[in-house]
């Protein structure tokens, strides 16, 4: 069965997420990150942030809602039973703070076959309410036995 590549170049609707301090607190608690800039507004401002700041990997929280519809798009035809998360890359820009409204736009960069596996490479770009880019992400999913 040939790999379906119809979705290459496709973009999906942008997803908005408003950053809340209690979600940041939950995230840093489970990750064991104890820097006060993530929970205390005064400490964050003293360190030069606009407000309580999210750790870089909080990106998974505000961009997950953008990636959901991508993976379930019939045009992508993702075989979840044989799928693994193969790789991930983030490039961070402006810090993300409590109260920010982050807009994430996903697109499909490439779908290709290599060594009997299907590689699905998606990109997301997230910007804040001022239009400043906060992250550029590349998500690679691998499907065995294509």
């Amino acid at each position: 069965m040939a790999l379906k590549t119809d979705a290459v170049g496709k973009s999906w609707p942008a997803f908005d997420y408003e950053i809340g301090r209690e979600k940041i607190r939950e995230y840093v608690n489970v990750m064991g990150i104890d820097n006060p800039v993530h929970v205390d507004a005064a400490a964050a401002k003293a360190a030069g942030f606009r407000n309580i700041v999210a750790p870089p990997m909080f990106v998974v929280v505000y961009s997950a809602g953008a990636m959901g519809p991508v993976l379930f798009d019939p045009e992508v035809e993702m075989n979840f039973a044989a799928m693994v998360h193969g790789g991930q890359e983030f490039q961070w820009g402006e810090p993300v703070c409590s109260g920010d409204l982050i807009t994430t736009t996903p697109s499909c960069k490439e779908i290709y076959e290599k060594d009997g596996k299907g590689f699905y490479v998606f990109e997301t770009v997230s910007v804040n309410q001022d239009g400043a880019q906060v992250v550029h992400a590349t998500w690679t999913n691998i499907v065995r036995g294509v």
């Binding site: 939950e26 489970v30 990750m31 998974v60 790789g87 991930q88 961070w92």
Partner: protein, 133 residues
């Protein structure tokens, strides 16, 4: 902050996630894939038991990398990883890193996350920006 040079090791992180960490990570991030929180479901799809979220382990890699810059969340400019294996709650994870390049303020670190004999994340590259002073 100590100055980092090529070949230096960064401070390693050892953590043993308790059996409820995947549940708390699911709650924090919204990723409720049952392979992470339901051992019976995980076994049904051929896994030995529930497995840790790969992005949780990547989060530990990010935390360890930022730790080399005093934990400043601005310092981590990029992180690229390949997931090469699964990892499990209640077993120790060790994150280690070595500086592979220094150019001006930019420090590149090669990071590995291992559990037992398995390197669950390797070929991880973190780029830190550490301003002078």
């Amino acid at each position: 902050m100590s100055e980092l040079n090529t070949g230096d090791s960064i401070e390693e992180l050892k953590v043993t996630p308790d059996k409820y960490v995947p549940h708390r990570y699911a709650g924090a991030t919204g990723d409720f894939n049952p392979i992470h929180i339901d051992p019976e479901f995980a076994k049904m799809v051929g896994l030995p038991g529930s497995i840790l979220h790969g992005l949780y382990v990547m989060g530990l890699v990010a935390k360890t990398s930022a730790g080399a810059a005093g934990g400043d969340p601005r310092a981590l400019k990029s992180l690229s990883v390949q997931f090469r294996g699964m990892s499990f709650p209640e077993q120790e994870i060790t994150i280690t890193g070595e500086v592979t390049g220094v150019e001006g303020d930019q420090v590149t670190v090669d990071v590995v996350a291992a559990q037992g004999d398995s390197q669950v994340i390797r070929n991880a590259t973190a780029v830190l920006e550490i301003p002078p002073g």
